[in-house]
Symmetry: C2
Subunit: 385 residues, 2 copies
């Protein structure tokens, strides 16, 4: 008898970009030079003060479990960070340290979502969000968003989509794949729409700190009933360490703790030790220099892409992505991406991974490689187009 596969599995998509990446690796194995603009992680190493903190700790060898909610000292350091950077008081008791932001979102969804409960999610959006909703037997309802609302849902749209089984709304600021931010007053309006309906707001602030020409902010300044997902991966340069956190409403923490015990036992101890140095002035200096470099890359790349015929109607102000409309250049972004790899040696991510809302018309271009390489990519694309 064949093994039973759960129904959710057929509805969960892999990262389509992986196939493209395989193609890129094949070409590289043949000696071709590929410029990687499909990658969703900083090209910078983990800052030295954090590596040194982990290394000093590892020298003891005593790498044991921590509390399920994370090291008390790290939870306090994160709380201080909210105070120092955003002027917001968050009790350390509300902070749950998790294995990456994925772990934080899993906890929030497992806590709140019964089978058949619906979550509203912007489309395009980070694919795992809807797949994690599905994993816990929830239903992900896409809110199609476009440049007109800078790729964020509007309160009117949320109100219209609200249904009896709607549990809440997930938004991301800055957004992956669009790099656009929600202004504090927009977020407050969304929260009002959600909470008057008895719903829950989940705010993905994974790319917090990576914003250009606009002050970084946090949903926590305006609300304490939302679940706020964050990460040490992007701004703090810790992707491979797998560490994130969740700020939860105070009355949710006890239940999150028991879920965390069973899902994870505890977050990675070496990663937590490294993260203890994430907020030190020396680290901050390194991270801010990187932020300026990302800004310079965006400033160089964005006009060059526009000149080539990529349409970017909503100014990307955060993360390290440009979500471009390619309809002036090609009919299908997936085919276009394959053509770019083959003919120009440039890898980028077709819209397909981010939802069902005009994915064939969009390409996500990441500026996670050196400026010279980005300009070289532009040159190569110019020759092909």
């Amino acid at each position: 008898m064949p093994r039973h596969t759960a129904r959710r599995v057929a509805e969960i998509q892999p990262f389509h970009v992986m196939e493209l990446l395989r193609r890129a690796r094949e070409l590289e194995a043949l000696g071709r030079d590929i410029i990687h603009m499909e990658v969703g992680e900083p090209d910078f190493p983990t800052p030295a003060p954090m590596v040194e903190a982990a290394t000093r700790f590892l020298a003891t060898g005593e790498v044991h479990y921590t509390a399920a909610l994370g090291l008390p000292g790290l939870r306090e350091a994160i709380a201080r960070h909210y105070h120092d950077r955003f002027g917001v008081d968050v009790a350390p008791e509300r902070i749950v340290v998790t294995p990456g932001a994925s772990g934080a979102l899993m906890l929030a969804l497992a806590l709140t979502t019964d089978p058949g409960d619906e979550w509203l999610l912007p489309d395009p959006g980070y694919p795992s969000n809807r797949h994690l909703v599905r994993s816990f037997e929830g239903v992900a309802r896409a809110l199609p968003v476009d440049a007109a609302s800078r790729f964020h849902p509007t309160p009117a749209q949320v109100a219209e989509a609200w249904a009896p089984r709607t549990r809440g709304l997930v938004v991301a600021t800055p957004s992956n794949p669009t790099g656009t931010l929600l202004a504090p007053h927009e977020l407050a309006a969304l929260r009002e729409t959600v909470s008057t309906r008895g719903g829950t707001l989940i705010v993905d602030e994974i790319y917090q700190g990576l914003s250009y020409g606009v002050e970084a902010s946090t949903a926590l300044a305006a609300m304490d009933d939302a679940f706020v997902v964050n990460s040490f991966s992007k701004y703090f340069g810790m992707t491979g360490w797998r560490l994130g956190w969740l700020v939860a409403p105070p009355d949710a923490v006890r239940d999150l703790e028991k879920l965390a015990q069973h899902f994870f036992i505890s977050p990675s101890t070496p990663a937590q030790q490294a993260a203890l140095a994430a907020f030190a002035p020396a680290t901050r200096e390194i991270l801010e220099a990187r932020r300026h470099e990302f800004a310079a890359r965006r400033d160089a790349l964005l006009p060059a892409l526009r000149e080539l015929g990529f349409v970017v109607a909503a100014e990307p102000q955060g993360a390290f992505y440009i979500y471009a409309d390619i309809s002036k250049l090609a009919a299908d972004s997936a085919e276009f991406a394959h053509r770019l790899i083959k003919e120009a040696g440039v890898a980028a991510t077709p819209g397909l991974d981010f939802g069902d809302n005009a994915p064939r018309r969009h390409l996500r271009i990441a500026y996670t490689t050196r400026r010279e390489r980005l300009m070289e990519a532009v040159e190569r694309m110019r020759r092909v187009l």
Copy 2:
């Protein structure tokens, strides 16, 4: 309006031992000496060759995501380990590296379990197993087991409990909390019972390698249709690193990969780098010395406990646990555990955490502390009892 909490949350229990642990910490803060025999992790540091491997890697700072299934080199090293240690050929492609064994079990359950699907699990057993079944909307059916079958389910018991919605059986060898092993022929018989019913077998080999007076073995020697969960935490001394693996039937890997992408992105990179040194001869030597120390602890502790009136009818041959019947000493293991902490300064885990099968009559005693301390604990208990 109050926030909606998913129904699963009420049915998922926290680790009850945490409350006991809090009590222990309070007493320690008052200057009391507590001997910790409630702890489910080795008291040894991570072996130096593994720490050194991670440290060398960290010096590069390049701590990026790996493939979702893990570093190819680590998957190959695990495959070689099966060959070298157990004489079993396992294709590296079947190995999924995960954030701890919890991550491995999550993947296997998310892959196979639709809402309402039932899994049979021995009771007593590791609590997270049934809570993870519940997390993915499955139903955990307890198979009460006792010393007569060395705390493992029998084929007759499985056959009798099998129902239309039964998806499969989870067994653990060595078992937590009982330290008992399944003999290869017993495991083969269970697999036969499960597979003739179209079910799936999940074998938890998290404590593999920690066995005393009996050869370590693997389910993979006899079957390639089971999901085998393993861990770097226990034998390899890597608890805080959070790294485990799943060996899956070949046709399940593609689906597991996409689940792993969304659940975890990838396992911890520093942990994987450390694990690359887990199978080196120098590491093996350290680990085998520790195994002998665990055996010596068991050999000293077990008769001493029996002399005190603890009844251990099924010889524990693995892990680092003794699951003792305390009915000659007290009426309720939870109260008894609190009394032991308070009066003897000895912490152990009441049966409550391991299920509903006579938990008040059992106490799990871990020999995860030095032999002198174990003997001191026995002395202190002798004075109290």
